[in-house]
Symmetry: D2
């Protein structure tokens, strides 16, 4: 066995996503045979003491307090962007232009215009063998990857219905503190971009179809919230004293929209495309991370809920009258990603998606091919987000993507 | 114990709904103490031999082949309408004008105009102690009745989200035969009025709020279907030979809409009303009768699925961090309707809702008060159905109810 | 259509089981085409006013206060025994000798000796075309009937494991009142015979195998309970005042046993028989009527829980690696008994099992063949109950049936 | 922040358990603040190339091919034993005598006699500040740790029932290859010690009660299996060619036993102790890693299934009549271990238990207190295993522990 070449990583941001990405970079080579060896070279953040503590905790060899400096460094091959959405475009474009591969958290950007510029930059870079990928990590949940495989195998037939919910409840308490996620200038949108974007990407990816138009409704339930000291934290847990100053919530708390799909690459008269219902909220008390996707086709159905993330439920109409939703424990060695982990029935957790993402990214880079989801894929999601906002602003009138 | 006075019933129609209603009339006095004794006097239907066989099978003492004759009879106190929606208005108005109480299947009518005339007739009749009720029978499912009780007790706080799905799959097979339910002239609409109407009524009733506006999408997946001999049958089971002549499906196969609620009777600034997502389809393969309702409030949530009809799931945020959806077996004697049946844990079935409906109706008539849902309640549902169709016809643009 | 001949019923006892049986006799001909028409001729009970009220409520034409008189009547063809177990033998034998068919509630008797005499009487009667049946009604739950069908079709392969639980909680409160079910002289045993007997019968019936030996443990958690006025009631709901006199509980509160099965009729070297675990208790707080059965074979598995009675879960190993427990809604017209009821997905309730039991019994009598479960089948269950008690009394030592 | 002192680890064995332990040692300091810094110094295994590859893959700095040499090394503070059970006693005693802390995989040993000697050695070592711990890792599943907390808080009242199943299916295929786990000389027992031991420990730990006696049944379904090349592998996945030579299975395939508990430390007349049912098998087709525990007390119940490992279901009788099993997502920051990981609803996986185990062990060593489960705790489990085997060998006769 020859020692693989290094892939030297620089990461920007070290909060929730930074911790998840760091774990992935550390762990991937321990369970998967990678063609390149990820090295955690440097992490960047504005706060010097904060970034140093993070580097020590998360396993990075050095730190920077200016992301531009990170990009300038010669000992970095890949920039991993874990910051709020308002910074994605500037960082990603600079990194790509500097010849660094990029892994960028979702949503790709805070506007379609930014996403288009990023996609253009990614296209240019790809010509030089420098690749960009967007972190729609739910694609790497084994159960959803199995779902896509089954749709591709034709086991659902033509798709008629898509039903996507992303339900959380961490903002239900009106005294939960203000966070950057509720500030439109930082996050671009609220539930829509934070969690709805995952549903859009997963629905399009699993079905192999693009959304062509939407009708939408956005709602803000709690228009202002107490200001806590640190607005860049994870947010959501714990109240702030009732007399704290309050800041304006400038994003949606909940997003609801219906959609039409394009019927896929091979769509003809027989497959006119599916219709979909989407809902994203952080106010569904009792639903903690219910990222759900159900798809009904002419031959079968599938259903997924991230709260039971190691299971995919599949219905095959051919088994009628004894058909029923089959609860597949997606923990067999034949299932996507699973064979590198534990024996059957020993389930994976949330962070495994990030590890799988790194595995796929490293393999693509080593093989000099475009990793998925590409920035172009993420731009399509961004266009759906834009259409949702446009429709909601126009009395829910249908809006083409 | 004195013998109760009789309540003499005449029923029109004897298919699926006729069988369910007959069972309810026969069974209610065996498990409940009724102030009036239902007597199954006569059943009416156009086909003489068919109606005679039905009378014998279902327990009716006599038959009529013209519903007008049934209304003219002196030995009938209540007309039970189990026919397709295009006949409801004429029959119900005639019966009420003839001084007969009326139980009318849902949806109340095939148009708002019809429903308005029926409601007017019901209002006039009520002044004379003659009452009309619409058969939104899911209200009588113990779990949904418990849900309403909990909302009324304030256990959910102010309602923010309503999530209503009614998913079936009996039309998924494109060779399933044409039925009257797919003929707009008979049924008024498709999934929307047949099953979506149940969701609308249940959502409004459980939350105590009215829908004030909608944005909608309607879809017909299979535009024509093979004609079977009998178009008045239940439909849905069994294919028809492939070379059978085909008839046009003139209704929606699926209906999706978002909605806003009025915040309830006591709605003020603090309770601006909920938003809702509704979906009704007969093409969700694997979902057999998934009439689901989830409601999220500021203090708690509840969730129901008719496929597990004896269960209500309830979440109480005050129990945090050890809160969770509590799976209540709604089979305790303290639960609505349940004390008259079996011991704890011995669940009820679909037809019990009809029996409970009869119990509530008979009690209301005996006590000379308006039974619920009234025609006015059903008219409100009809107005929502109308708004859904109007929005769908206008590129999903928001439409006030 | 010729009018069917009558089958004239006399019922003894009118509490919980009497209400369930009455409903079945009334309802069966309304949904099924029966070759004989059940007529509810007379009900017997010791308390004259009680039995008259019951007759009126449950639909019986006349009453008797002595069950012997009921058996003497010429206008009775079938005796339906709904009394506590200590009376079964005397009544059933007398009825059979008088030429009456018998439907006897379970468990068949309070001892193996009684059950043997009853089985002998049933054997003699059968020679004269008079039949006896024992009311193990769970066999008539569609999901369990489907389970048996699947085992017979070989879809599970050779059976290895049986896992049967019957969990209730209505005695968990130590102040729940004394009832006849806790008096060994009346009921024979406690959880063992009341609910464990159902598990034994279901396990043997579904697998097609007999239990050949057991090792058992019996436990009484609450040795005495407050005496309520009426010891013949259903029991279980509601406390009695703390200072009420207390009576001794003389039966088991919980029964646990392991078992070996005989491998079925065709058992050879390759199918050495399954092993089983059984548990019956009324102290499993939160489990209301969890009559559960799981069977694992060499090719597949099935699982059932009466708390979700319209569902059977089935696992087919041939579908591996995408195998999973398939949640079959047992509400299709092709499923046992279901075609005579409602459309797909409209579930049945507890009492339907009794209606199906009547349907099967009436058909067997009309066709002059032995209905199942026969008294001989029930005697086998009684022998298992006896072996359980013997093993428990001998330090759990293995005891052959 | 001062740099913590190192805790230098040497691990013996590098298969399934070795991979899990390595991951834990690497990951624990990244998510938890540890008072000592684990260093992965050396891994030992008999096969030189195998152990070198494992060291590289799993992150160990050096290797040994003789475990005795590992114990002799001065640069090792703790010996982590991940080998089959036949080697545990010799290694653990040698390590403790050499002044090394010990983490030993379960079951502690292959016999009670070995376990007693190990416990004695651990007792001697503890006097010198050298500690031993046994790896019953399921204790570190957050949901089971929450279960124990709830029992300790008295939320279940006095325990009456314990219901423990550990169901797998990876040996159901009779052509799955022979492994060391099926060789009694290596593994001590089959399902009993491999998975049943986990159930015994979890049941005793969660309830705070010891098992005092058992009645048991052991069964071997497949008496011989094809021999594969490597008998030390994980086993279970994939068939071997039909004509491969076969080896004798010398352990149980399934274990069933009933048990009595001692009522806990404060047991008096009012809490006579619970009764339990245990079942362990690798032949329950469709059950992949169903490590289940249900406990019923006088005030409430709890239920857990490792196939849904982030959930604990809890029933509180005080909520009656609206009580129900509450499905707690054990992903809140207040839940055991959870606060160091991800936001609410982002579940953990199988390997997290090993990480938590390391955290608890490192903390105990740093604070110079006995980590749990101690060897004495594990000896108690071993005694139950011994009693099960003794009872099974004596016609299931009750056997005191």
């Amino acid at each position: 066995m020859t020692t693989p070449q290094p892939l030297r990583i620089g990461m920007i941001g070290y909060a929730f996503m930074g911790a998840a990405h760091s774990h992935a970079w550390r762990t991937a080579p321990r369970f998967f045979d990678l063609p390149l060896e990820p090295q955690l070279i440097a992490v960047a953040g504005r706060n010097a003491s904060g970034v140093q503590a993070a580097a020590s905790k998360l396993g990075w060899s050095s730190t920077e307090t200016d992301w531009r400096r990170l990009i300038e460094r010669d000992d970095i091959d890949l920039i991993d962007i874990c910051t709020p959405g308002d910074t994605h475009a500037e960082i990603a474009i600079a990194a790509l232009e500097a010849g660094k591969h990029v892994l960028c958290e979702k949503p790709l950007a805070n506007s379609v215009a930014e996403a288009e510029r990023m996609t253009e930059a990614a296209g240019e870079a790809a010509k030089k063998g420098v690749f960009a990928m967007c972190g729609f990590t739910y694609r790497r949940t084994p159960a959803l990857a199995l779902a896509k495989r089954m749709v591709e195998q034709g086991r659902l037939g033509n798709i008629r219905h898509v039903r996507a919910q992303y339900l959380q409840d961490w903002l239900s308490d009106e005294n939960a503190p203000m966070t950057w996620r509720l500030d439109k200038s930082k996050s671009g949108s609220g539930s829509l971009g934070d969690i709805g974007a995952h549903s859009i990407d997963a629905a399009q990816w699993v079905t192999g179809q693009k959304i062509t138009g939407v009708s939408a409704l956005l709602q803000t339930f709690v228009p202002e919230r107490p200001l806590a000291g640190d607005l860049v934290g994870l947010g959501g847990h714990g109240d702030v004293a009732g007399d704290a100053p309050r800041g304006a919530v400038t994003v949606d708390d909940a997003a609801i929209f219906s959609a039409r799909f394009d019927g896929g690459a091979s769509a003809g008269a027989a497959s006119a495309g599916a219709i979909g219902v989407f809902e994203a909220t952080r106010y569904a008390l009792g639903r903690k991370n219910a990222m759900r996707l159900e798809v009904n086709g002419t031959r079968g159905s599938l259903a997924f809920d991230f709260e039971d993330m190691n299971v995919l439920s599949v219905y095959d109409a051919a088994e009628s009258p004894d058909a029923g939703f089959r609860r597949i424990m997606v923990t067999e060695p034949e299932h996507p990603y699973v064979g590198n982990w534990w024996p059957t029935g020993h389930g994976l957790g949330y962070e495994h998606g990030f590890t799988h993402q790194v595995v796929d990214l490293v393999n693509a880079i080593a093989e000099q091919r475009q990793p998925e989801p590409s920035f172009a894929d993420a731009l399509q999601v961004q266009r759906v987000l834009g259409a949702v906002e446009a429709s909601a602003a126009a009395a829910s009138r249908w809006h083409d993507v």
